[in-house]
């Protein structure tokens, strides 16, 4: 049974059809890539899958259960761990505090006993700190434990954000451009990390990524989005040599490129609105 199944997802923003009948499937322990030119609707697809947007049409199924209209925080508790295109962390807090914030649902005590400060709370806090430190060690960020994340470099932030997503104790990880802000070497290293994470924690992943070598190396299956439609899918090698994909990335015909540019601007406006 697939972990995540998306059927005929469609969403409009005003006159813009951001996604048109998009379907994809992620199987257990797979790392699936979602690629496409800027403005293709990749992040929009993520937002529909994780519940931040409600699609106008289509269905999202998680382990056989329909979760199309489930709220994001409920999905997070079900096992959806996600990162954001721009880093999604509490900038005023330290790395440790962020990792503990991400463990909110796993704290092991409720709000009321938290306010009374009973033993359960202290134990829960200790366990969260231990888990947070383990994640910092795992990512090689132990020395950032008490640093405020606001001042960290972008690449480091992206890595720490991955740590926060891990701290939510996910079943499926949805990573939105995990290598942005990283150099080629760091990107390679991140690829290794993703493979290790899959092996160690039995994770399933859906990854939006632009860095082609990484996609080729870690992904089992790749979907290509263009103008909100699924352009192609297959193994990384199949997709790489697909004529439509090459056309989409290299510009194709002029009218299409113009349309892409305007759609992208539109998309940006929609998102910032």
């Amino acid at each position: 049974m697939s972990v995540l199944e998306v059927r005929d997802l469609s969403i409009r923003f005003g006159g813009l059809q951001a996604l048109q009948a998009v379907s994809l499937e992620v199987n257990e322990f797979e790392i699936v890539g979602l690629i496409g030119p800027n403005g293709a609707g990749k992040t929009t697809a993520f937002n529909c899958i994780t519940g931040f947007y409600t699609p106008h049409d289509g269905a999202v199924t998680y382990r056989g259960k329909d979760v199309t209209k489930t709220a994001p925080h409920v999905k997070a508790r079900m096992g959806f761990g996600r990162t954001f295109q721009n880093v999604g962390m509490v900038k005023g807090a330290t790395a440790l505090e962020n990792l503990k914030t991400a463990q909110h649902a796993k704290a092991g005590y409720d709000v009321m006993s938290g306010l009374l400060g009973v033993g359960k709370t202290r134990r829960g806090e200790r366990e969260m700190t231990v888990r947070a430190e383990a994640i910092l060690d795992l990512l090689g960020l132990a020395q950032l434990r008490d640093k405020r994340v606001g001042g960290l470099s972008y690449g480091t932030l992206k890595l720490l954000e991955l740590g926060c997503a891990l701290a939510t104790d996910p079943d499926i990880l949805l990573l939105d451009e995990p290598t942005s802000g990283m150099g080629p070497e760091e990107s390679d290293e991140l690829g290794d990390r993703l493979l290790v994470l899959r092996r160690e924690f039995g994770l399933t992943m859906l990854v939006i990524e632009h860095h082609v070598p990484l996609v080729l190396r870690v992904c089992d299956h790749v979907y290509v989005l263009n103008f909100g439609r699924m352009l192609a899918q297959g193994t990384p090698l199949e997709v790489q040599s697909h004529p439509d994909v090459i056309a989409a990335y290299l510009g194709g015909e002029a009218p299409e490129a113009l349309a892409a540019a305007s759609a992208e601007r539109r998309d940006d406006r929609e998102r910032s609105a």
Partner: protein, 364 residues
């Protein structure tokens, strides 16, 4: 830069002498402050009411800090929750003959109920418009509920007489102080547990908070309800402090004072807010009844100068806070608090730096 060696540097165990060196000055400073604030000054029956006011203001400051400092929503209507608490306590005690202790529970509950309604509004509306709605809420209460005949003893004011054991002003100050200690403790625990982290996360970015599994709706409501409860209880203390509750003392000026003492005290800074309460509660007294009034008369040499001076100092503090010191008084005393708590970092806006103040621009 991303790849870093994971070998942690070994941390040396603090030596007994180091510990003594660290703790002796801290305890000395604490002891001196404690003596001055707790023993020396309020011992005088004449000054004790000012300190009682300061404690009450500080509780409201902490209450407002939860909504404004932690979840980032400006409330200009806290005089409403405060006033409801005051009337609830006075009415239940004097008219319904409810036991003294229970009146505080009722005051907290009524504050909580109204805050819940306000919280529901805040789910839909944020920022400037929410501030406007809270403002209207406070103003409307002042002219409607606080004028209702049965509640206000036909407009004459609802009496709230302290029990005999609290007649002494000094004792009443310690009574208020006990409530403040509980409020400070609650605030302390709140921030150290997942609740505080959830509030700060949703203040910075609701989407990130949701991705972490935080129920943003529930925690926004929780913040309002907790804030309303604290303000309601503070209102009950105020009722017993002045002995008779009328609408006239619960107007917009009070709401403004609450916001000022919280912002000038330092949003997100517990001790700063408490000191803000002390400052604004004692300002009137300092300006009139100490040597300062000579300076005051000299600078503002016209009629109504006292009221003007209070407003002037408040405005000046606000401008300084906004323009120069975003952390308010809390920022000024940070070296001292560092000394006392050993420089331990907390979830509070650390140095009131830009990162603590500016929002995040994450797009989802």
């Amino acid at each position: 830069m991303v790849a870093v060696d994971t070998a942690a540097t070994p941390v040396a165990r603090p030596h007994a002498v180091d510990l003594a060196l660290r703790w002796v000055p801290r305890l000395a400073v604490l002891g001196l402050l404690g003596y001055l604030l707790l023993v020396r000054m309020p011992a005088d029956e004449k000054y004790a009411p000012i300190y009682a006011d300061a404690a009450i203001y500080a509780i409201v400051g902490l209450s407002l800090n939860i909504v404004t400092g932690y979840t980032g929503q400006l409330s200009l209507g806290h005089n409403g929750f405060f006033g409801i608490g005051a009337f609830a306590a006075a009415y239940s005690l004097t008219v319904q003959h409810v036991p003294f202790a229970v009146t505080f529970v009722l005051a907290g509950l009524s504050g909580a109920v109204f805050a819940l309604v306000m919280g529901m509004v805040a789910l839909r509306i944020t920022g400037l418009y929410l501030a406007l709605i809270t403002l209207v809420f406070g103003l409307t209460l002042e002219d409607s509920l606080f004028e209702v005949s049965w509640l206000t003893n036909a407009g004459a004011g609802q009496p709230a007489n302290r029990p005999e054991w609290l007649f002494s002003e000094t004792r009443f100050f310690y009574f208020c102080l006990a409530f403040l200690v509980v409020a400070v403790y609650l605030d302390f625990v709140l921030l150290r547990t997942k609740t505080g982290r959830a509030l700060l996360a949703l203040k910075e970015n609701e989407r990130v908070a949701e991705a972490f599994g935080i129920n943003v709706t529930a925690f926004k409501l929780f913040a309002f309800v907790l804030s309303g409860t604290l303000a309601g209880v503070a209102g009950a203390l105020y009722a017993y402090r002045i002995g008779i509750v009328t609408a006239s003392g619960l107007g917009f000026n009070l709401a403004l004072t609450f916001v000022l003492l919280t912002v000038v005290g330092g949003l997100g800074s517990r001790l700063g807010v408490v000191l803000g309460g002390l400052l604004f509660a004692s300002l009137d007294f300092v300006l009139h009844d100490t040597w300062v009034h000579n300076v005051n008369d000299f600078v503002f040499a016209f009629q109504n100068a006292p009221q003007f001076a209070v407003g002037f100092i408040g405005a000046l503090g606000l401008i300084l806070t906004i323009v120069r010191y975003p952390g308010g008084i809390g920022q000024q005393i940070r070296p001292l608090t560092r000394l006392l708590v050993g420089g331990q970092r907390s979830l509070h806006a650390d140095d009131g730096g830009p990162a603590a103040v500016e929002g995040s621009n994450v797009r989802a």
